[in-house]
């Protein structure tokens, strides 16, 4: 299907385990983003990527790792999950990140629970 998809939609894991959240977009957008959404904090940017093999930190990058070997995929890895990483994670993409008029297109989200 066209658009931006995330998998899994729901994930329960245990403290200390490694977890990878997947994001895939079919528009060939240059920019991709990972946000987390928590009550009382709104959306906060974790990492973003300007193109394949180009990534940079956002507001809350600690404990997360990203990679982008292909334009269409932008996985987010929690190397050693902690309870504070329980959240809803959203992936987004935009055609270009070089204009402030760019619209971001969001995936449906992954609800992650760390026990």
């Amino acid at each position: 299907d066209a658009g931006i998809t995330q998998s899994p939609r729901y994930k329960i894991t245990e403290t200390g385990r490694q977890v990878t959240l997947m994001c895939h977009q079919t528009w060939s957008h240059s920019y991709m983003f990972w946000y987390r959404q928590d009550l009382g904090h709104g959306l906060r940017l974790i990492y973003y990527s300007a193109a394949a093999d180009i990534t940079d930190k956002g507001e809350v990058p600690d404990g997360y790792v990203v990679s982008r070997s292909k334009t269409e995929n932008f996985p987010l890895t929690l190397e050693s999950a902690t309870r504070s990483q329980t959240s809803v994670y959203f992936c987004a993409s935009s055609e270009s990140g070089t204009s402030s008029t760019d619209t971001q297109y969001f995936g449906p989200g992954t609800r992650l629970t760390v026990l």
Partner: protein
């Protein structure tokens, strides 16, 4: 850091009434965007207003921007039950060096439209 802050945090109205949500921000912006998030879904772009615009319309949506007060408002006229959602303002932050723009989201206003 939170750039935009929506007000009120929650709003409950009857179907057919108008709904007004406000957004205040701290630093100068180029553009301001409004997004909607239905429960359990990703954010969807509604409208963008540039810093040199004072008002913009899209269907039942009316957005105003007052750069002197660093505030924006979103008006939804003749609300419907389907408008029940959270609404977020997003402002741009220019990053030096890479020349890329990113959006900073507020915490949102939760709108409930009662049939």
């Amino acid at each position: 850091s939170q750039q935009g802050e929506e007000d009120p945090q929650a709003l409950s109205i009857q179907e057919g009434e108008n709904a007004t949500m406000n957004c205040s921000y701290k630093t100068s912006i180029n553009n301001l965007q409004w997004y909607r998030q239905n429960s359990g879904r990703g954010l969807v772009h509604l409208i963008l207003i540039r810093s040199n615009e004072r008002e913009k319309h899209s269907g039942r949506l009316r957005v105003t921007l007052d750069t002197s007060k660093k505030s924006s408002s979103l008006l939804i006229t003749a609300s419907r039950a389907a408008d029940t959602a959270s609404y977020f303002c997003a402002t741009d932050l220019a990053y030096s060096g890479a020349g890329s723009y990113q959006l900073t989201f507020g915490k949102g206003t939760k709108l409930s439209v009662i049939p």
